[in-house]
């Protein structure tokens, strides 16, 4: 078996320039709209490296080889090509190689030949796609983290009054985080009143309302009071139309009114210091 594989590798080495030329030509034809001198050069370099790796496949020790593939794949990912372009590109190479092998009338069953080609190219291809997916996953995870950081901030505004402004849609995961942050914050800042500001929440459905009610309930258990502020007219409409009972929670239409109410609850108020100059 391995004899056949090394035979193919040998074949690639011998007909290297030919194959590469065909490959790049074919690829550029398919990609006719977006040809530029620069990308052409990159294509050439990448193609050369790919072929080199395939050739060295048999010579190198296993781990060294996999390290090489790894580096190569990383470089490809850095080019930031769309994945389908890479897939097409690699597939084209296999097709060309197969055509060349047939052309030179290498003895053997074509089907077997195909499977041998696949054996030569698949470790490299696999690694390339692995790198691609892991780079995508990394991006997604980073964004997820960024989102989480933004998801539930708690701001102490006065002594024993804190505000949690919520922006964007609330799902179950986020609601959980909101509740945790809210309660931890209440204990940490020793707040008596927390204001949950939903000005930036586009939709309040039964689920969101349920989460808010639960959060308010939990806040009460911890020993503080919660106010729901920033209820826009359309939100009020949805809440009533859905038959959600928010009567247990004090609500205000703006954060400003909420703060005034919160100050009142803690026996304070903001007074003006006489004439404004």
């Amino acid at each position: 078996m391995s004899l056949k594989i090394s035979g193919i590798v040998e074949f690639i080495r011998m007909h290297r320039d030919e194959i590469m030329k065909d490959w790049i030509d074919r690829f550029n034809k398919a990609d006719a709209q977006s040809i530029s001198a620069e990308s052409d050069q990159i294509d050439q370099a990448i193609a050369a490296e790919y072929v080199n790796i395939l050739i060295e496949w048999s010579k190198n020790k296993e781990d060294e080889f996999s390290r090489k593939i790894h580096e190569f794949s990383k470089r490809i990912v850095q080019l930031d090509w769309p994945m389908d372009k890479i897939a097409q590109c690699l597939h084209t190479f296999e097709k060309i190689l197969f055509a060349k092998l047939l052309e030179k009338q290498i003895p053997g069953d074509p089907l077997e030949l195909l499977s041998e080609i696949e054996k030569v190219t698949s470790p490299v291809n696999r690694e390339v796609f692995l790198q691609y997916t892991s780079s995508y996953e990394r991006t997604i995870n980073l964004q997820k983290m960024a989102l989480q950081e933004l998801s539930a901030p708690l701001i102490p505004v006065f002594d024993s009054i804190t505000v949690m402004p919520l922006i964007g849609t609330i799902d179950t995961d986020r609601a959980k985080r909101i509740m945790e942050n809210l309660l931890k914050g209440v204990v940490k800042y020793r707040s008596e009143v927390v204001l949950i500001d939903i000005t930036g929440v586009p939709v309040v459905d039964t689920m969101v309302a349920h989460h808010i009610i639960q959060a308010a309930e939990a806040v009460r258990l911890v020993g503080a009071k919660s106010l729901l502020v920033g209820i826009r007219p359309e939100i009020a409409q949805t809440i009533v139309n859905l038959g959600i009972d928010l009567s247990q929670i004090t609500t205000k239409n703006t954060l400003q009114k909420g703060i005034e109410a919160a100050l009142e609850m803690t026996n304070r108020k903001i007074v003006s210091m006489g004439e404004r100059r």
């Binding site: 204990v187 008596e192 258990l221 911890v222 020993g223």
Partner: protein, 121 residues
């Protein structure tokens, strides 16, 4: 068989102070309920503060006992305030659907006593 440990109940002027320092098991909780009511009867206290700062877990049974304590004490003319419920405990209670409605809560012992004073006025 585990020995049931008694929870100390302290009297401070007209109030009773109870700090629960470890996880309550069912038996201790029942014993506590009995002791508390007896103490209210003896002292004629008008306020009770139960501090749960050191309690990390409350199950539905303990929650029910605590709720019962509150209602029973109310019948005997004493207002109960639960203080220092930990965030994690609050979340668990809510998730279990135990809302402990009509129960006074406060952030800590100090605020609990203030609240009692306010309620008395």
């Amino acid at each position: 068989m585990m020995k049931t440990s008694k929870i100390p109940i302290l009297k401070l002027y007209n109030n009773l102070l109870i700090s629960i320092q470890w996880e309550l098991d069912d038996k201790t909780a029942m014993q506590f309920q009995e002791d508390l009511l007896k103490k209210i009867h003896e002292t004629g206290a008008t306020g009770v503060v139960i501090d749960l700062t050191s309690v990390d877990v409350i199950d539905s049974f303990i929650a029910k006992i605590l709720g019962d304590c509150v209602n029973m004490s109310k019948l005997m003319g004493a207002t109960v305030v639960l203080t220092g419920i930990q965030p994690a405990v609050a979340i668990t209670l809510i998730e279990l659907g135990i809302e402990l409605e009509d129960i006074h809560t406060a952030l800590d012992l100090e605020k609990g006593l203030e609240l009692l004073k306010e309620l008395e006025d």
